[in-house]
Structures are given as structure tokens and as C-alpha cells.
Amino acid sequence: MATSTAPAPAARKGPPTILLKTVVAVTGVFFVLFVLVHMYGNLQILIGTEAFDEYAHHLRTFGEPMLPEKSFLWVARILLLVSVVAHVWASMSLWRRAGQARRTRYAGKKKVSYGRFYAKAMRWGGLALLAFVVFHILHFTTQTITVDGAYPSPAERVISSFEVWWAVLLYTVAMVFLGMHLLHGIWGAAMTVGLNTSLKRAEQIRFVSIALSTIIVVGFLIPPFAIFFGFIE
């Protein structure tokens, strides 16, 4: 690396801004891969309740006999937990930095804002998603919250829950939030890792972010609606 004669500036306290942004981007890409796999698992219920239960069971016995039972599951859970903590911590640090960068706000309001509503909802929308994830884990993983009785079979838990209108509504709202978060998140992640270096690339990234968000939202909403309207019993 070439060195310049200019004295190196004293660093700001805390990690560099672009490093924080990269933490958000990389953990975000990991979440996108996770939700795609999660969605694939959910769609097993279209094949049948047995296929769904078998898939759930396989997640626990993945890698056997080389790996002990549930080891794969726990590695994935720990990785996800670490990523969530890093994603939220880095985003909150950036949020605080942004707040400190403009302590006096404008009196005039822009008539048209170029930033899209879903892009501006990243921070509070992300916190809403975090609240949903906590609810979702309490609902299906720990079963602390039951919507319509407790069942031993995962498929039965899913079907009984989504026969209840407010559960369908709640999960639908959450998926709309997820779609909004992904729409800007995928675009932002590509920007932050430095993929958008031409106008053509920008179009391609836009396309991928729209396509992936749509696939994920639709893919997640198929099972609850199929159950609610009685296609799966």
C-alpha cells in the first residue's frame, strides 16, 4: 500500500462507519439465505403433514451419525443469534451516529421525498421484525404461546394456528414488514459490499432485490393462507 505524506487523522471512537455498515450487510445476506431455507421447509406442508414433520425431524438429526442429535440445529441457532445481535448492534450504532450528525432538524419539509417509504422504514421496521421473531420463537419453537391448543406434531401446530384469523393476520403483517425490509436491505447490502458500480449494475441489483423479496413474501404466505382457506387440513 502506498503511504502518503499527510499525517494520519486521529480515529473516531468506535469502529469505522463503513465497517459497521458491512457488518449489517453481511449478517443481512446470511438472514436472506436463512429465510430462503426456512421458506423451503414451510412449503413442505403443501406435500403433506408427514413430509413437514419429517423435514422438522431431519433438521434435528441432520448429519447423523457423524454429528450428535440437534448439533446442526444448535450451530445454526447460535450463528443466527450472533448475527442478530451483530446486525442490531451495528444498526443501532449507525442510527446513533446519524442522530449525532444532525442535532438541529429542518423546519421545512420536502414536498417529494426521493427515499422510498420502505427504505425509510428500515430502523423501526427492523425493530418490529425483531419483536415478531421473538413472538414467532415463543409461538412455534418454545411453544410458550399457544394460539389454538398444544399439539405434539409440528404440522398440527402450524395448521391449528393458521385456522385462527388473527394469527394469519399477524403473520401476514409481519411478512409485509419482512418484504419491505428485504426490498431495501438487499439493495443496501449490495451497495455496501461495493457491487453497484454502474447504472446497469444498479438495475440488476434492483431486479434481484424485488424478485427475492417477492419470492420470500409469497412463499411464506402460501402455507398460512392455504390452511386458512381449508386447502390443507
Binding site: 500500500m1 459497521l20 458491512t22 429542518y106
Partner: protein, 248 residues
Amino acid sequence: MRISLKIWRQDGPADDGRMVDYRLEEVSEDSSFLEMLDLLNEQLIDKGEEPVAFDSDCREGICGMCGVVINGEAHGPERTTTCQLHMRSFDDGDEIIIEPWRADPFPVIKDLCVDRSSFDRIIQSGGFISANTGSAPDAHATPVPKEDADRAFMAAECIGCGACVAACPNASAMLFMGSKVTHLGELPQGQPEREARVLQMTAQHDLEGFGGCTNLGECSRACPKGIPLNVISQLNADYRRAGYGGRD
């Protein structure tokens, strides 16, 4: 035309500042925005009041000295500098809110004038190339592919006015930095210092207290030179190639 103005008045850096209402009659719609402010100031001076302080220099949209936030938009409703904005962009009877660039690294000096030395320090930290002085090399001594030259020129259009920071919800200066990094990084002369440049400029940017980009695109929209958002991605790409600052 007749307009009512709400202008930010602040006596000095230590003053709290406030919005003050003014009314102007008989403003020509062919006058520029800054001429309208000149008219207001003439009237204020006649009344023995302190004129509104604002920055301007070339008044032809190339120097980057002027710039105020008009009705919440940096440089106002048109995609140009404040000096190239004309009163015909407004309607008779409009209320116009005029504020200085709002960012903590751009402290207000007086009224609508802000101190943008933080931009100078970012440039000093790495926004340059080192070249031997003496006889200029022949222009064709180092060939540059046309696309690279075009992209460098596009980024070099940045006049450092600070509208990107003013428009950014995070008060980030990454479009400004991205312009400099892209401008110099696309050319052979910019290569020897390329990694040092991005690391030192981003460190200075953070130190000045600018926020981080959230990829909304408000900056690019407000930029009077229409510099695209992808220069920020180029900045990030260069930062990644420089090892995120972790390499010695």
C-alpha cells in the same frame, strides 16, 4: 410577484438562532433566488436592520460556494445550485422557508452561512494525487480507456457544495467522498495512493462527525451535478479492497 419568507437568523456560532418572517413585494420572476435575497437585504439595510448573511461566489453554478435549504430541499426545487435557481420556480404568494445546511460537521457561522472546512480536511487527508512538478507530461503519454475517463469526469463534476450532506437524513458525506474516490480511482495517476486515500478520507469523515449512508439516494437527487449513487458503492468497494482499514 409577492412572496413571504421564513429565514433562519443566527447572530453567530454561539447564538441559538430563530426563524424570522419577511415579506417581499414586486419580486421579478426572472430574478435569481440570490438576487431576491439581495433585494431583501437592500430593504433591510434601508431600514437599518442587519442584512441576511448567505454565501455566494461565481453565481453561475460552478464554484459550489452557495447553497441553502429551500422548503426542505437542498438548493431548492430544481436540480441546480441555489444561484442558478430562479423565482419563476415559485408561485405568486408562496411561502419560502430558507435554512442553512444542517449538519453538525457544518456549524453555522451566521444566518445561512455554514463552515464547510470539514470538507477541506477530508480532501487534505487523501483527496489528491502526488505528482512531480516541472514540465507537464504529454496528454497522451498515459492512455486512459474512454469509459474510465468518462466515469472519472462524471465524478469530477462534484463542486463540493455540500448539498449531499444537507439532503441526507443521516448527514453523511459519502456521496462527496465517493465522487473524489471514483474520480481519482478511475485514472492511472490515482492508483499509487488509492488504498491510502480511501482509508484516510473515511477516517477523517468519521472523525468530523458525519453519519453513515443508508442508500436512500436523497444525496444524488439533491446533487446539482447529478452525481449517481454508485460512487458510494465504489467508495465501499475501494474500502473493502483496502482491507477495511485493518491492514498495516
